[in-house]
Amino acid sequence: MVNLRIWRKFDFLMVGIVLLLIAYGALMIYSATQSAVDLQELWRVQLTRAGIGLIAMLVVSLIDYRYYRELYKFLYVGIVILLAVLLIAGELTGGTQRWLAGGAIQPGELTKLVIIIVLAKIISDHDGEMDRIPYLLQSLTVVLLPMLLVFLQPDMGTSIIIGFIWLAMALVGGMRLFHLGLLGGGVALASPIIWLMMKDYMRQRITLFLDPTGNPDDFYNVQQALISIGSGGWLGKGFGNGTQNQLRFLRVRHTDFIFSVIGEELGMLGAILLFLLIILLLWRILRVANLAGDPFGRLIAVGVGAVIFFQSFVNIGVNLKMVPVTGTPLPFISYGGSSLLTFLLTIGLLQSVLIYRKRLDFEN
């Protein structure tokens, strides 16, 4: 295109893995929705959105990532206001509000992206000083407000993911392990007080989260997921032949439980293939962190890696009954426009980090 050197730095392998994951996902969405008349076209919708998302990714990858450094305050204030408005609107109408603009965008997904940029800016400003408690607490404070707002939505899953993003970025940014222990101990000590301070409905959300038998729907879903995966065996029952999937015993199978469809129809082979693709992607993402020209770029890569890793693990963990049920989609695989778009944007951001790492480029 305009500048051949730009494309030389572009990580085609990473985008290739992403394309494979999206294709894998669309294929499984197709299999998961053939038995429900009203859902049969979803795989096409997903591919269309992937097309739009890929263009957005290319555009983002051409914008110098350092530009966002200057914008971080606007981004942060913007997302906090957005979350607060949604929360108030939700309280007023008596329902929960996780959707924006008639359901087109989930602000929770957008929040992750903004938090990665904001944290990267704040931590990189104090590069090498994160072992000091004031700076650590500053970064933590920045994260706590959106975490709380998201938790109240209620979207406990996203709230935890944001917390994990902070943890991963702070650790790579230089947080002392001693402080991590201190923080863990502090939370453990404070938890009874926090528990007492919480309102009843908040406690209910946490107990439901920790004890799936309290929610018969979740319990049923996980039980069916285990049956699906367990009955899949080595090679699975074959694409489109999963009885749990095709006879609809498995629920929310094209979104949160799509891994169970893979486990049932393609067996351990399909699941390991998925694992390898995700690990490969994470390797490419952490490679960006290694290659990044500045701490800001490196921390962005760490944040993106953290969110993709954490969400993948939590989603698959739910399917395998290792993690309590959260409505967390599997990156690039689960059906869902906001999630797919957000993850493609993060990939674009990483490409931008690669393309605009000027200093190192000259050194090479």
């Binding site: 590069d127 790579v172 367990g230 629920r251 351990m268 694992f275 962190a289 693990f313 395998l320 290792m322």
Partner: protein, 792 residues
């Protein structure tokens, strides 16, 4: 932080990734290998079900092959809550769409307080309205029906919690056309399904309800009487009538198949070989539907004219006990029970004073009155108590002297004849002919002042029992009463009084304690008419399997012998002949060319004392009886007609019997038929029919079958209309419709064509029915004439 530390931490991150994915792999391995078998079994348990295939219940025909009961396919609309859209707006759209189609409210919470002001709502409370099937919300398996329609949303909200896959019945037995629309629109109606079931359809309703009975759910206390595998507790079984007594024949044998089901429990495919259901066997009755219809109309008219509150008529063949007609009025519509009767409707029926649920022909116990007189007559002649020509002077009143003061006329008890003027000198023939009470008092109870002994109560009871009184006849439907042939012991036990001559007097004229059912009465006369054999009356002539093979043929079953000499019988019969010739029924019975014998009866009863007395203190309310058989020699038919509170037997019941006899011997039909046929053919020629496929169900035989009706604008069947069945345009068979417009094509070889047409060749403007036939399936079709004016 040094570059090295950063790289180290990134490396640790990578290790963490590997470690955590390692955990996932370990869990995957545990699930898929260590516990793979177990989960495979759980997956199979999810999807495989062993399900019963309902066996179609046997069909019932009258003696001429006319269909009385069929199995009608019914359609229920159910919602599986789990498949409703998650979005509230979309869900409400589904409800609204369904509400329009089913004419049901979405919700009626909040509508309660204004219910009485709301005509739409009130209309559901109306008794008749609720019988319109597509407006009624009910659980067809339950008698606890709600009269007020639940709103669709209310029904879904009230579904059991934590069972989102359990279908909720929204509307039962909806119009097949609406069912078809819902099936067509199922893409717009996620979560809405149509379930098909089968229900008994009693085509003749009230006309045959007392005979056929009905089916209904097994009551909880009876479950152990209907053991698996033949039954399951949700089955419908025959509860009353032939449906009950021939339950073993009718129910069939359930089939079994292993099916793969989806999460809603709907069958996806059949796995392996299924064991087909064997349909129940069909009953062919001794009843002649036309005669039954005619007798019902006549009895109904007689009841209305006389003000009688109920009535019964039984027609049977005296030579084998076949019952040709059995009418009990008022009757009820047994379809109400088959559809699941509401508590309100049931209490209306069961609390009705005229007891429509009781078959009065077999279960009504009434004083027989004068029709009982053949018993003392036969007994006295046979025992030599009286000689055929021995005469008694009947002065209209007989004074029975007091037992302890025989010489004090003041204490004597008067016994009256119905004819106060007295019949003069009376022998057995004129005694029967005029129904002279004085004659029967004396031959039954004797007369002390003249030293005449009479038959006496012991022998009277013995002869009553020979004629079948006091014991059930053994007819093949439940609900039969034994009646009562009283004995001194019975009186002592029930009244703590001794038997006196007056009791014998009363019994001799069929009053007092003696009670009989109309069936017992007609059976007694039939025994006399056939030469002295008491048969067990029956309603089922043949039982055939669905392939039409004869499984059982009813034979004349002898219940006893009268044990009368030829001579005795001759004299009694002559008396009964005289009743019609010149006696109490002389102007009423008129069957040209056929000699008829009979007996009138006017049995006094008193339901409400003293309103039943007239000014002279005599009982004025009476039941009207008439019993007849014809021809007098070699009788073919015996008839008993009873009208409760109908007054004089000769005035109320005898004309009904006369009409039945005339009908049976075809006196009136010859001319009428000629007229009707002409009128009908002119009328019908203008008609233009619309064709409808009503539905189908499975039955046992390999071929397909088509059952249908040709109806006029009012829904009455039209006979003698040619119906043609063609395969791919080539005519296979044509046949005329039967008396109630019915036609049946059975055992159709489906390989003869792909597209089948049923049409009325004589009415080319009518549309035809096109269908593809599957073996083992029974299709129900209907041609109905369009309102005149549409005719070409």
């Amino acid at each position: 932080m040094t570059e090295y530390q950063v790289k180290l931490r990134l490396f640790i991150f990578q290790l963490t990734v590997i470690l955590f994915f390692g955990l996932l792999v370990a869990q995957l391995w545990r699930l898929q290998f260590l516990k793979g078998e177990e989960y495979q079994q759980l997956a199979d348990r999810n999807r495989f079900r062993s399900v019963e295939i309902e066996a179609p219940r046997g069909i019932i025909y009258d003696r001429n092959g006319k269909l009385l009961v069929r199995n009608r396919p019914i359609f229920d609309v159910v919602i599986v809550p789990a498949y409703l859209p998650d979005d509230m707006t979309a869900e409400t759209q589904v409800f609204a769409h369904l509400a329009r189609l089913l004419k049901l409210p979405i919700t009626n919470s909040g509508a309660r307080e204004i219910a009485s002001h709301n005509a739409y709502f009130r209309s559901f409370l109306h008794h008749e309205y609720t019988r319109l099937p597509n407006r009624q919300v009910k659980n067809s398996r339950s008698r606890l029906l709600s009269k007020t329609p639940r709103g669709i949303k209310d029904a879904v909200d009230n579904a059991p919690p934590f069972a989102p896959y359990q279908p909720v019945v929204i509307a039962a037995d909806i119009d097949p056309a609406v069912a078809a629309i819902i099936e067509e629109k199922r893409l717009n109606l996620p979560g809405v399904f149509v379930q098909t079931n089968s229900e008994r359809d009693y085509l003749t309703g009230e006309l045959s309800a007392q005979i056929l009975g009905y089916v209904g759910p097994i009551s909880p206390g009876q479950v152990e009487n209907y053991p698996p595998p033949i039954y399951n507790p949700n089955d419908n079984v025959g509860l009353v009538g032939l449906e009950y007594s021939y339950e073993d024949q009718l129910h069939g044998v359930k089939g079994q198949e292993i099916v793969e089901v989806d999460v809603t429990g709907r069958k996806v495919t059949t796995i392996g070989d299924s064991q087909a259901a064997e349909p129940g066997n069909n009953l062919i009755l001794t009843i002649d539907l036309d005669l039954q219809t005619f007798a019902t109309e006549q009895l109904q008219a007689a009841m209305e004219d006389s003000g009688g509150q109920s009535g019964a008529a039984v027609v049977l063949n005296p030579n084998n006990g076949e019952i040709l007609a059995m009418v009990s009025l008022p009757s009820y519509d047994n379809n109400l029970f088959a559809q699941g009767i509401s508590a309100r409707e049931y209490s209306l029926l069961s609390e009705d004073k005229s007891a429509p649920l009781v078959n009065k022909a077999i279960g009504g116990l009434y004083p027989p009155g004068s029709v009982f007189k053949i018993v003392p007559a036969a007994g006295a002649l046979e025992e030599g108590v009286v000689s055929p020509h021995q005469q008694f002077l009947a002065q209209g009143i007989l004074y029975l002297p007091n037992k302890f003061f025989p010489d004090d006329p003041e204490l004597a008890q008067p016994f009256y004849c119905w004819y106060r003027e007295g019949h003069g000198l009376v022998d057995v023939v004129s005694g029967l002919a005029h129904s002279c009470d004085i004659y029967f008092y004396q031959i039954g109870g004797g007369y002390a002042p003249s030293g005449y002994e009479g038959l006496g109560h012991e022998r009277l009871t013995a002869y009553a029992e020979r004629f079948g009184f006091g014991a059930p006849t053994g007819v093949d439907i439940p609900g039969e009463g034994a009646g009562l042939a009283p004995t001194p012991k019975w009186k002592r036990l029930n009244y703590a009084e001794t038997w006196v001559t007056g009791d014998t007097y009363n019994m001799s004229i069929g009053q007092g304690f003696v009670l009989a059912t109309p069936l017992q009465v007609v059976n007694a006369y039939a025994a006399l008419a056939n030469g002295g054999t008491l048969y067990k009356p029956h309603l089922v002539k043949e039982v055939r399997n669905p392939q039409k093979d004869l499984l059982f043929q009813a034979e004349a079953e002898i219940a006893g012998q009268l044990g009368l000499s030829e001579e005795t019988r001759g004299w009694v019969e002559e008396g009964l002949r005289a009743v019609v010739e010149w006696g109490t029924a002389k102007d009423v019975i008129n069957v040209p060319g056929i000699s008829v014998s009979g007996k009138t009866g006017t049995a006094e009863y008193c339901d409400r004392y003293p309103q039943c007395l007239d000014r002279d203190g005599r009982v004025k309310t009476s039941h009207a009886w008439f019993v007849a058989y014809a021809p007098s020699q070699n009788a073919e038919i015996a008839v008993a007609v009873f009208v409760y509170g109908g007054g004089e037997g000769s005035a109320t019941s005898a004309p009904v019997a006369n009409a039945i006899l005339r009908y049976y011997f075809g006196i009136d039909q010859l001319e009428e038929n000629a007229d009707n046929a002409q009128a009908e053919s002119e009328n019908v020629a203008l008609k233009n029919f619309t064709a409808r496929l009503l539905g189908g169900d499975t039955h046992g035989s390999a071929g397909a079958a088509i059952h249908g009706f040709v109806l006029d604008e009012q829904g009455q069947g039209i006979s003698q209309i040619i119906v043609s069945l063609s395969a791919d345009g080539e005519e296979i068979v044509r046949l005329p419709t039967g008396n109630n417009g019915q036609f049946d094509f059975n055992d159709i070889a489906t390989r003869l064509g792909d597209n089948w047409q049923i049409r009325l060749p004589d009415y080319p403007a009518s549309n035809e029915i096109e269908l593809s036939l599957d073996g083992g399936t029974r299709y129900f079709v209907e041609f109905q004439a369009m309102e005149t004016g549409n005719a070409p």
